[in-house]
Symmetry: C2
């Protein structure tokens, strides 16, 4: 497999610049290399392309017609590669994103309009699904997930941390009393998950000792949003991600409980994607954008019950 394009490129340069030497200088190789490349080209084609005198070169009749086509092809290759190289750095194309419903509602939807405005050539497909089933195999380029997936063939970048907070409606607390320590939860109606049972083991620290407390009540659901609504309605106590209930805490519809007993109940939200040798710009830009816009949210994790930083709702566009 001879290097046709290389020989053609050298030939074109030599003709354009008028001599092998100048072409060699332009390409920082030796004149010998140019001479041999053109010679190989001629041998391969079986046609003499250049009449060489010791002082100059001149196109033969065949060389002239070949040169024109050659020039066109070389330029086409060059343009093709430059186009591709340029597009490589311009995010474009269909970007398929998958996340859970709450993360989409509270974090993604508010900032996606800005993302689309910043990268007009990106076409975004957002799908929301429960966290359990969906691998990134659900034909998505990026999944916004809780906890880095154990699948080692994936790569995860942390976007922000969040806390889970035990909360209840003031109404509920007025009726059933405020639990003073974790063990008191056994006397309360705790809203539980029916699919992700591990979420019914609430982690606490008491007297310097870490433990998990199984909770139960008279209602279970498969989605945090459901428990959230029922907690606001005063049905019981729930342990919910802080970003789900920012508004309710601010407006007093929910009240945090037992805050001193689970200071480190934090988890990360990650962008998960296939690592590939040549990462499409749209994926890199999207992940960078998520971290740029949502990374500050990490600051909220330290307990600051009195202060009230900007709510994620502030991200919403008017």
């Amino acid at each position: 497999m001879a290097d046709k394009s290389g020989e053609m490129e050298l030939f074109v340069r030599a003709v354009a610049l008028g001599s092998f030497s100048s072409a060699a200088r332009a390409l920082t190789i030796t004149p010998s290399a140019v001479s041999k490349a053109v010679g190989r080209l001629e041998d391969r084609l079986g046609v003499q392309l250049l009449d060489r005198s010791t002082r100059s070169i001149r196109l033969t009749a065949e060389g002239q017609v070949y040169y024109l086509d050659c020039l066109r092809i070389v330029n086409e290759i060059d343009e093709l590669e430059r186009t591709l190289l340029a597009r490589r750095n311009v995010p474009h194309g269909r970007l398929r994103v998958n996340s859970s419903v709450p993360i989409a509602r509270r974090h993604l939807l508010p900032i996606l309009p800005e993302f689309l405005a910043r990268y007009p050539e990106i076409e975004l497909d957002l799908s929301t699904s429960d966290e359990v089933l969906d691998l990134i195999e659900s034909s998505a380029d990026v999944a916004v997930r809780i906890s880095p997936l154990q699948n080692s063939s994936l790569r995860a970048r942390k976007i922000f941390d969040f806390r889970r907070i035990v909360v209840a409606a003031p109404d509920y607390l007025a009726r059933h009393g405020m639990p003073a320590r974790p063990a008191d939860l056994s006397a309360h109606n705790c809203l539980a998950f029916n699919l992700k049972m591990s979420l019914n083991e609430w982690p606490f620290i008491e007297d310097g000792r870490s433990f998990t407390l199984p909770v139960q009540g008279n209602f279970r659901a498969d989605k945090g949003d459901t428990l959230h609504e029922l907690a606001v309605a005063g049905l019981g106590i729930a342990r919910l991600a802080n970003f789900m209930i920012d508004d309710d805490l601010r407006d007093g519809r929910l009240v945090p409980l037992l805050e001193d007993f689970h200071p480190n109940d934090t988890m990360g939200v990650y962008a998960v994607f296939f690592p590939q040798k040549h990462m499409p710009a749209r994926i890199r830009c999207f992940v960078d954008f998520l971290i740029e816009k949502l990374g500050r949210y990490t600051l909220r994790v330290p307990q600051e019950p009195a202060r009230r930083p900007a709510s994620p709702v502030a991200h919403r566009v008017a």
Copy 2:
């Protein structure tokens, strides 16, 4: 200088055939080579062109646009090379031929129509000039010359041999008598050249001894044609190439003299051209054609005064 076209070709074949393996089989290389070539291509472009599963390959979005351009360019290169390769074997283009006037008149002109008919894509430029001055440097592709030029950078192929014959008109002989031996020429009016003086030394063999006899008379000219016409007119004795006087010998306008004394007065007519690594087909064909059509003329050189082979005039087209 990476082998762009080679990688492109492999990429196109792999996409077209649907797998690296089939492309490898088609090109009789190993799948490893295909895989590595596509990998190099992707590295160079910084873009992933193919999604590979262990069982199949699939074009990425970037790969699709690249593939189309790639296919076009590969086909263009292929077509360009095939076109050139085909044209290489089809004689075409301007063919510049130079010869002396007598050779052109007596040998070339009769057969050139057939040559042009056989090779319609050849455009023939025939120039005639005296033999002395003109090098092949007179911007001709082929020169039809007497005697292989001493310039060693040229190549010569013999087309046919000819003889020089000492002749006179019957009228002249009737008036001045027929010379019996070379020495008798001193009493005759010998028509001589004024430029190529060497032609005034006539070679003879007498009693097994070779010698040259300087001749002279009252008229000199620079062209054999001139001497020829004057000889026919009965002005004197001339030594002329046999092909110039075939008609006159046949029709009795000239009579050969002293034939037994210069049996080997022969010279060759040669096609002279620049040897080059890739000989243009038009040159090769022309020289072959000359030998094909005129080579038989060699048979005339042995003295056959009685017989009368086909005259070169027979070559003339009706």
